[in-house]
């Protein structure tokens, strides 16, 4: 493209700016960036991820289903991309993988300041030969991610949790100190070690392959970092939101590795 009459620069959406930071941080830890369909099939969104047939998450009041296309859903998490990547791993005989999957997901729930029917998730996973990718490496990965994204004062802690696709499962909290404010622990993501059924469903051998997976609201991380009170601002199409931040610098220092 040739530039035309040199207008002032436009601006990127805060999600784009955040994803760039995250892509760079995870890139330095060897993670690629994967995308997958938003209109998913039941297998990749639920069944393969060890969500049983009669699980409440499949109910109409939680998940958007598609008219005249039984078995199709708007993905409720970007973990469906993880499933697709694991299948690729089995098909192509790949020994290890690390990907983050930033993308839009959908939940059939009423909206308020902290809930939207559509939002972004930062999902991701790392797998390798048994014993190489552990819950301790999940902690190490998030320790670094949050220190580089939120600042060096950040700390990470795990609490027990439950998800069908991981065992053990944890919640990841971050200790965040807002500029001039006092610090607090904030819940940021769900994670755990991929359930052996998920590894099996991908066509891999859980005796040989093991890894962690994580996922959490992307807007939430941005809201924490910049003090944004309402998630509904993000996808309102309102330019006042894109301009509601001082753009301090454009870092010429390049992102990855």
């Amino acid at each position: 493209m040739k530039p035309d009459a040199a207008p002032a620069q436009g601006r990127l959406h805060p999600i784009t700016i955040a994803v760039r930071e995250m892509a760079a941080i995870f890139g330095r830890m060897g993670f690629g960036i994967a995308y997958g369909p938003e209109l998913e099939d039941d297998w990749h969104n639920f069944t393969a991820l060890n969500v049983p047939e009669d699980h409440p998450a499949r109910d109409m009041q939680d998940t958007f289903w598609i008219k005249d296309q039984p078995g199709k859903v708007l993905r409720t998490h970007a973990t469906s991309v993880t499933m697709r990547k694991l299948e690729e791993m089995a098909k192509n005989g790949i020994a290890e993988m690390r990907w983050i999957n930033p993308g839009k997901v959908f939940r059939n729930e009423s909206t308020d300041m902290t809930h939207e029917a559509q939002f972004y998730q930062l999902d991701g996973f790392a797998v390798g030969p048994t014993g190489t990718v552990t819950l301790a490496s999940l902690k190490g990965t998030f320790d670094r991610f949050y220190r580089e994204y939120f600042g060096q004062n950040t700390r990470v802690r795990f609490r027990p949790s439950f998800f069908g696709f991981t065992e053990p499962s944890v919640e990841i909290d971050v200790w965040f100190e807002a500029p001039g404010g006092k610090g607090q622990w904030l819940e940021t993501a769900g994670a755990g070690m991929l359930h052996p059924n998920v590894i099996k469903n991908a066509g891999l051998d859980p005796e040989k392959v093991q890894g962690f997976a994580f996922g959490g609201g992307l807007e939430r991380l941005i809201m924490i970092k910049y003090g944004i009170p309402d998630i509904r601002l993000f996808h309102s199409g309102d330019i006042r939101f894109t301009y509601a931040f001082d753009q301090l610098t454009e870092n010429s220092k390049q992102g990855t590795v």
Binding site: M1, D4, P7, A8, G10, L12, H13, I15, I17, R20, A23, G27, R28, M29, G30, F31, Y35, P37, E38, Q61, F64, I66, K67, K104, F106, S110, A117, T134, L135, A136, S137, K139, G140, T141, D143, F158, R159, P160, S161, F162, E167, P168, Y226, G227, I228, H235, G237, I239, R240, T242, Y243, A244, F245, Q247, L248, T249, E250, G255, T256, V257
Partner: protein, 597 residues
Amino acid sequence: MKVSRAWLQTYFDTPLPDTQALSDALTFHAFEIEETVGDMLDVKVLPNRAADCLSHRGIAKELSAILNLPLKTDPLRQPLPYRDIVSPYLTVEIEDSNGFDKLTAGKCLRYMGAVVRGVKVRPSPSWLKEALEAVGQRSVNNIVDATNYVMLDIGQPLHAFDAKGISSILVRDAREGEKMTILSGEEYTVPKGTLLITNAGTNEAIGIAGVKGGKAAEVTAATADLIIESANFDGTSIRRTAQVLKLSTDASQRFQNRPSPELCAYGIREVLALIQKIAGGEIAEVVDEYPARPQESWNVSVSLAKMNGILGSRFTKKDVADVFTRLGLEVRVDGDTFTVTPPFERTDLTIPEDLVEEVGRIIGYDKLQATELPFDSAQGKPDQACYRGIEKIKDELVVRGFTEISTQSFARKGDVVLANPLDKSKPALRKSLKENMREAFERAKYAAPLVLPPNQKPRLFEIGTVFTKAGEELAIETSEPVSDLPKKIQNDENYEPPQYRLGAYQPFSVYPFIVRDIALWMPAGTDDGLTKSLIQENTGELLMRLDQFDRFEKEGRVSLAFRLVFQSNERSLTNEEVNGVMERIYEALKKAGFEVR
């Protein structure tokens, strides 16, 4: 699940630590705490533990393991007195469409019924009232309270019927259009196939199985004889019924999490003992229909190496054995391998990884040493080519003055339609970004004076997924045509997207704004910057934005033009108000020697 510290204390000889310490212990080793109020903790029991932990006994057992305090008594480990008594007084029959022969698990997995004669229904003793009220329950009478107490204590839902006129209970599917009045007096038409508890003699429904008791056999002050139900119903069927009837109860919440049917026997033992203590009466008999008896016991094995290999820990055999002892799990150690025989209520322990989780959480995830994954960038760059290709296009548009927006994926019309839209006016998925762009651009034109300099018109772009008959794809949309914009986004593994640093979010006002322009001749000896600050000083808080948009020199004099945008964070401004501010500015400028044009 609301639990009280005093109730939990009944499980321990040693005094429990304070509520905050209990809250921390549970938070970091078992379950999140929704809130604590005085002595009460609202525990958010995880779905895989709701089979055994929606009870004070379950939470006490967790605390026992976490705090390493032995339980004084464990009701689930006391031998059972009743076994398969065949009754001359009460018969129970299960006729359930999913499992008509007793070998198939149907919707009713077990039904125990006990007949108690000659009870005195009266208000509960104060200890019982207080125990229930401490966890937000209402006291009704000693019989109803006894059933609730035992449910909250060990997790088994129970129900008491007035036995008058009932000698035979039939558990059956509801017929088409069958009506039933529940205890609160509300009448429900239950969907066909809903499991009902009925009086076989009259064919009348006396309860919606696993959800709510019926008015027809309500225990009142006049009740003398009781039938106590301690049953187990299929989780899926109970969940559906509770959902359809919009009737979520303490009982339905427990059944939908599939507690072991073994628990029924403990429930009936506990409740009969309590009723005899506080309401007297004589236990005439206990019936037990048990079509879905589970396997007696099962084993789960895991090696120490596997455990440390998943957690990334260096726990010893002793560390692990200690966790199993504290959890009260029966374990056999064979070399490096632990074989656990879970007690009946721990239905969640089925695979080796479940045991890994028990060890990890009880020892504490804070004991895991954070370890980074090894990565050598020399071995090749991670694949970010698709992402980089998208970012490249965004940057090309930003350079041309376009600002990025993000809009909703739902639309009024489209090729793909939702079966269950949230917003009925937008039931489809967008097939292009055009409609949202038009709307966003209209709003951007309106909001432009707030965010853009006066000479700049808004230009917008969006990159987002659209859904057509052919499938979904990533589309690019701009608010005005861009020459030679690529139709398709190409991967680009080498593009390095620039990083931006943003300041804190500055909330914007939702109230209308008012724009005023001012042009003036500068007196000699002033400069543009001074002029600007002079205007700023005289406007006050309502000035949202001030831009200089014109400057020219004529006959040795300099003319400047400014645009002022006024807006309040709290209300709509009036023209008069803004006129007042402008007057103040004119005055100040004149005084400083400016000539307003």
